[in-house]
């Protein structure tokens, strides 16, 4: 079974001159860890927004573990998908514990079991000492790690991360990547976007490169590099397909 199956996805935002997605299609199997890569404006965030039901596609289909992402099944999809948005989607004036307790309550968890679960995650991410500190006083790395915990409180089968390591220090990045590998090892699927191609090459089993709303190439990173004799790493493959022109 595929964890994500996207077919012929089209999306043009109201008032936009250029479509964000133009027939994008890709799929990857359950239990894999996949990198969705592309230059700025390639359509990565739009794709993620459609995957989690925040934005409606003009046409095309999306299936999450064979469940169509439509109005009738949106709630079922939400239960099996965890999203880590690019923004720190937390309440800055609340402590990490208060934030996570609130989101846990919204998922239907409560009491001692929720508290234990939060404590375990805070320890796993090295945040146990900061549990009762307001999030606004956190460093960038601490915020990113708390942001991830908020997305996995309900143990989703598919974890989607939009640039989870942007703006964090080396230690935090290492911890986050280590967590993603561990999560994937438990049989969970992971889709993540990043501009750090070395990082993607390091942890992803599969890579999807998109540009101008279309699929450019999909495959294992080592296969992609091997196919192009003049490319020594994933970054060179990426530049080969997307060009050197600066995107805004």
């Amino acid at each position: 079974m595929n964890s994500i199956e996207v077919k012929d996805l089209h999306k043009t935002y109201a008032g936009a001159l250029v479509p964000s997605l133009q027939g994008l299609s890709f799929a990857f199997p359950e239990g894999s860890i996949v990198g969705l890569l592309g230059p700025n404006g390639a359509g990565k965030t739009t794709t993620i927004s459609i995957l989690c039901g925040l934005v409606k596609a003009d046409s095309g289909t999306v299936k999450i573990f064979d469940l169509p992402q439509d109005a009738a099944r949106r709630e079922a999809v939400k239960r099996i998908i965890g999203i880590v948005p690019q923004q720190i989607a937390l309440f800055p004036q609340l402590t990490a514990m208060e934030n996570l307790t609130y989101f846990g309550n919204l998922y239907g968890f409560k009491g001692a079991s929720l508290k234990q679960k939060i404590t375990n995650y805070l320890e796993a991410f090295g945040l146990e000492k900061a549990a009762h500190k307001e999030v606004r006083k956190f460093s960038g790395g601490m915020k990113r790690r708390t942001n991830i915990i908020a997305a996995i409180l309900h143990d989703p089968q598919l974890l989607v991360l939009d640039e989870p390591t942007a703006g964090v220090d080396v230690q935090s990045r290492s911890m986050i990547l280590q967590f993603l590998r561990e999560y994937n090892r438990q049989g969970k699927s992971v889709l993540y976007t990043s501009h750090l191609l070395e990082e993607a090459q390091q942890i992803c089993e599969d890579i999807v490169i998109i540009d101008e709303g279309k699929l450019i190439i999909q495959g294992r990173p080592e296969d992609m590099i091997r196919q192009h004799a003049d490319c020594r790493n994933l970054e060179e493959v990426f530049l080969l397909y997307t060009g050197h022109a600066v995107r805004d």
């Binding site: 989690c52 039901g53 925040l54 934005v55 409606k56 709630e75 939400k78 239960r79 998908i81 999203i83 948005p85 690019q86 923004q87 720190i88 989607a89 937390l90 309440f91 800055p92 004036q93 609340l94 208060e98 307790t101 609130y102 989101f103 309550n105 919204l106 998922y107 239907g108 409560k110 307001e134 908020a150 997305a151």
Partner: protein
């Protein structure tokens, strides 16, 4: 239910951490109603409580002048001044004092005014006697004066209503003196005709029917509308309750900007339950705000020498009104928070729109004194519905049935605003 309670708890924690927001919601309104009640105390005071100085120049030295002076002094509203530095006031001095604004009004009783009234009364009595076959005996002036009038001088800055009230009072005194003298002359003529009943002749009484003032309503509140506390405390409380749009809209825009709204929408379950939690919390805050200000009206205002706020008899109706105003104010905040993209836009629009809605809705000055067209617009303001309902409960001792139309308007307006916000949010997703 867990989602609802969790959201209320979350909003409570956010409010506790926002010291400026707490001050805006609870301290500022208390300061506002106190300041407004104190500075508007004098304009709201009954004319009965305020004494106006009136200059009187009595050139008549007769019954009319005495009656006017005693009549004005007897109302308790006027200080009659007829001397200046121990000497009788002259017309020229009085005109000067009015012209420079020292005094607002001067009454000049012309020389011979009482004589003129007596002569006129004698003439009427003689005419009647003659028709009845009784010989005319009372003296009458050979030539009646056409231009004799009590002269009034007003400060040009005096209010029209004030001038009208003075004119009416004087007209009343003149009529009374003329009637009294006429009746006296009739009595005198009748006595002179039948000298045997001289001592037992009954006094003629003209006033057979008088006036009595009775207030309508369950309680015994009299004239409470005419004090500053009774207008300002409920009116500015409603104004302050509507200012909750600022923290609500700011809260919603921040949630959208920092991405937490996205997370809330990604969590399974109806987003409406989260919105309902937010709505309940802020409605609760509005009600707490309202009763805090009512407490100030009950206990704080008397400490400042102002009257105590009267609460009517149906406290449940008062509570329902507070909740309904809270729902409408919160819904307005949610609408603004949905429509606007930045906190600055929402703050400016929210604050200015509330000031406008309150000005036309009778919060600053009662709707009844506004021009007719503005009144029509003002009656469309939710703040006016809220104030009407509060006045119905507090001043007219109204019950739930009396305030029902205003409550329905408030709730329907709140629902409409929530509906628009939901539609806008829906369109944003699609």
């Amino acid at each position: 239910m867990l989602r609802l309670i969790a959201t209320i708890r979350k909003e409570w924690l956010l409010l506790l951490r926002d010291k400026a927001g707490l001050a805006l919601l609870f301290v500022m309104p208390v300061v506002l109603i106190t300041v407004m009640a104190v500075i508007q105390d004098a304009p709201f005071k009954d004319y009965q409580e305020i004494k106006f100085d009136i200059l009187t120049v009595d050139n008549d030295h007769g019954r009319l002048g005495r009656h006017i002076r005693e009549g004005l002094g007897g109302t308790g509203q006027f200080n009659v001044i007829d001397t200046l530095q121990g000497a009788p006031l002259t017309e020229a001095q009085a005109q000067e004092l009015i012209a420079d604004g020292t005094y607002k009004i001067c009454i000049t009783i012309p020389k011979g005014a009482t004589g003129e009234i007596v002569s006129n009364a004698n003439k009427i009595v003689n005419d009647i006697s003659k028709r009845m076959g009784i010989p005319a005996q009372l003296p009458v002036k050979a030539i009646a004066s056409d231009s004799l009038a009590v002269q009034l001088y007003f400060d040009p800055a005096a209010k029209k209503a004030f001038k009208s009230a003075i004119r009416q009072a004087l007209d009343n005194f003149l009529t009374q003196v003329q009637t009294d003298l006429l009746l006296e002359r009739i009595q005198m003529q009748l006595r002179s005709r039948d000298s045997s009943v001289h001592d037992t002749f009954p006094t003629i009484r003209l006033k057979a029917v008088g006036l009595q003032e009775t207030m309508i309503g369950k309680g015994k509140q009299i004239d409470v509308i005419s004090n500053s506390v009774q207008h300002n405390v409920p009116a500015w409380s409603i104004f302050a309750m509507f200012f909750i749009v600022i923290p609500i809209a700011g809260n919603m825009i921040r949630e959208r900007e920092d991405g937490s709204l996205v997370r809330l929408k990604l969590i399974p379950g109806n987003y409406l339950s989260i919105l309902a939690g937010k709505l309940l919390f802020f409605v609760g805050i509005c009600v707490v705000q309202f009763y805090l200000m009512i407490l100030v009206g009950l206990f704080g205002m008397p400490l400042l020498g102002l009257p105590k706020l009267q609460l009517g008899v149906d406290h449940l109706a008062g509570f329902i009104t507070a909740v309904s105003i809270g729902i409408t104010a919160t819904a307005y905040g949610i609408l603004i928070g949905t429509l606007f993209k930045t906190p600055n836009q929402a703050l400016n629009f929210g604050a200015i729109s509330i000031v406008i809605l309150s000005a036309i809705g009778g919060i600053w000055i009662p709707l009844e004194v506004m021009p007719e067209k503005i009144q029509l617009i003002g009656r469309c303001s939710p703040l006016s519905w809220g104030l009407d309902a509060i006045n119905d409960v507090y001043l007219r001792n109204g019950n739930i049935r009396l305030i029902l139309p205003d409550i329905i308007r408030l709730l329907a307006c709140g629902l409409l605003m929530l509906g628009i916000a939901a539609r806008v949010e829906q369109r944003r997703i699609s």
